[in-house]
Symmetry: C2
């Protein structure tokens, strides 16, 4: 997509071939700044601090992290340590493990002297595969919006939670890809953007993306979605997934479950857009997914722009109050109307997923 | 209740008999400051700006507003204009209308020269009635917590949304009254406090109240409640009501509906605590309650304390993004396990309410 009219990705190799560059997403929407990641430690820090976030982008950043390690020391022990360090950055998204598995596979049997070049090539392929998958999700999902518009004759009202846009991937996004495509093709779309406390990724990232791309949208508190659905003001809920189980349970940003429950109550279709990289074929029950507990400071402190234009952080809680900050929740498959993947749409069930990924049935896992 | 160990109410007549004083709730939890309301305009402004908020406290403040007007000009026209001005401050809570009706009733046939004294006396009675009602709600609600503790043998986990504590009333609170009473009597209680965006009344007011009173609590994002209930970490949801219809539909702070839907899904009892002043006997269907749409600035801007200790406000949204800010939502009676009133507990239904308020059946309204 474009930023200030210029085609932009969320991660790209630096011109000097010694680093990758990223957008520092913690400073959006107020400042568009990039950061150079030169070492494994830089990559791990960027993931941990959520300068890069979103399951697909976390995976690609980790892949480049293996390359950065290989530039320094491509020995087996160093690469194994790099893998462990990257795996430990974020526990919930499974793309991280999948990307690291793909890198290990690519480097198997490769002599140490050739590993850096091979790692860089494979990480680049993973980035390109992500872009292709997201673009395909857009193609498969846009008809959902186009059909709703054809039915009603008015702008399609889509509610989304958190950021599953191009900033969560390398380009295009997952949940936002169908919205961008439908919009670009002329279907009138209006997006209700959940603020998405405590990190405000809806308010800070999704709103910024949609604004840059010119898609009409309205930011609401996370509390408002149930009310909007009750009053018939939402035609479709469309969200991403950080990990999807083999039976279609969906683990996504905390608060997604509440939206799914409201959608079922008020008969609003609830769709989840995801590339296959987020599917964890080893898990059936979403309750087994580890839910990351993040720092309470994310809830205690809010960052933004002062009237003077500087970035500042304010504390909103009494200092003596305890805080809990689970970062994800699990929406069971029975609350999900359908999944949108790079291979097409399917029911949120084992049968549905296997209809799109039949090779997984043969593997028996 | 006590603030810094000193018994405190949210509103009280000034010593000089020419004004009332309030706690400026917009500066909590960082600054405990009071404000003197000397005129009708002061009272209306305090309600509109939410220096005082909470349905019962809005009603009592409006009653004192009539007194302040009567001190200036107690003529029929002036009092009618005062009533209209106060009614226009907030559209959703019905206590406001009930309090103004009670004042009009008290002044009917009273000679203008005696109206100010009569108004002051009646407003004081309304404040005392509110305290008595909240205390009774505590008495009727505490057994809910005590029974849950007796069953489980561990601390009762209560989730509450927004602030229905003593700050929302004159003293004691509605939803928090049973919690204070059960806690004071020795039942171990832990409260999950919803942050309650966009005004953060949970984080700023409920957490502060509970901290001052020594009740264990944990603040969570509004997004977390569904997850906590899914994982069996909530025994009871207890909230207040800004308007309750004759059939038991409950209009409360935006986001309450999402909690009610999650509570039903995960079989968590969902109780609503309210004094009769919040019951609108003229309405059956909650969908007819006007939902206040407040300024988008409440969502755009967050206020808090800087590291330097000053209060500051930061913008969190891209300037070009639209914002919607509905302040309340309606939870239909079928999602409500029970109501807790000053006369006892009942089902959220016409029959339930009439069992406690049989005089309303005779009135046929």
């Amino acid at each position: 997509v474009r930023v200030d009219g210029r085609p932009t990705r969320t991660i790209w190799p630096a011109d000097d071939g010694r680093a990758v560059e990223i957008i520092d997403q913690t400073r959006l929407p107020h400042v568009f700044a990039t950061r150079r990641l030169s070492t494994l430690a830089d990559a791990a820090d960027a993931i941990r601090s959520m300068q890069v976030r979103g399951a697909p982008l976390i995976g690609v950043t980790a892949a480049y992290g293996i390359w950065l390690q290989a530039l320094e020391d491509a020995g087996d022990a160093a690469l194994a340590a790099a893998r462990a360090a990257l795996l430990a950055t974020r526990p919930t998204a499974v793309d991280l493990r999948h990307a690291l598995d793909a890198m290990a596979e690519a480097l198997r049997g490769v002599p140490p002297g050739e590993r850096a070049a091979r790692a860089r090539a494979r990480a680049g392929e993973l980035a390109d595969e992500d872009i292709a998958a997201c673009r395909a999700i857009g193609e498969h999902g846009a008809p959902l919006l186009e059909a709703l518009h054809a039915q009603s004759g008015r702008a399609v009202q889509v509610l989304t939670h958190c950021n599953a846009g191009w900033l969560a991937t390398v380009d295009w996004g997952t949940a936002l890809a169908p919205i961008y495509l439908a919009h670009d093709r002329g279907t009138p779309v209006h997006v209700w953007v959940d603020e998405t406390r405590p990190r405000n990724q809806g308010a800070a990232l999704t709103a910024w993306e949609l604004l840059e791309h010119g898609v009409p949208h309205t930011v609401v508190a996370d509390n408002a979605g149930g009310h909007l659905m009750q009053r018939g003001r939402v035609d479709l809920v469309l969200v991403g997934s950080d990990r999807t189980t083999a039976r279609g349970d969906v683990c996504n940003k905390i608060g997604t479950l509440q939206k799914a429950l409201a959608a079922r109550e008020y008969r609003v279709p609830f769709h989840v857009a995801l590339p296959a990289s987020t599917i964890d074929w080893t898990l059936e029950d979403g309750a087994q997914i580890p839910i990351e507990e993040r720092s309470g400071d994310e809830l205690r402190r809010v960052s933004g722009r002062t009237p003077g234009g500087e970035l500042a952080t304010v504390e909103i809680l009494p200092a003596g109050s305890a805080v809990a900050n689970p970062a994800f929740d699990v929406t069971p498959a029975h609350l999900v109307t359908g999944l949108v993947t790079e291979r097409g749409r399917c029911a949120a069930s084992r049968e549905g997923l296997l209809s799109l990924y039949p090779e997984r049935a043969a593997q028996g896992s």
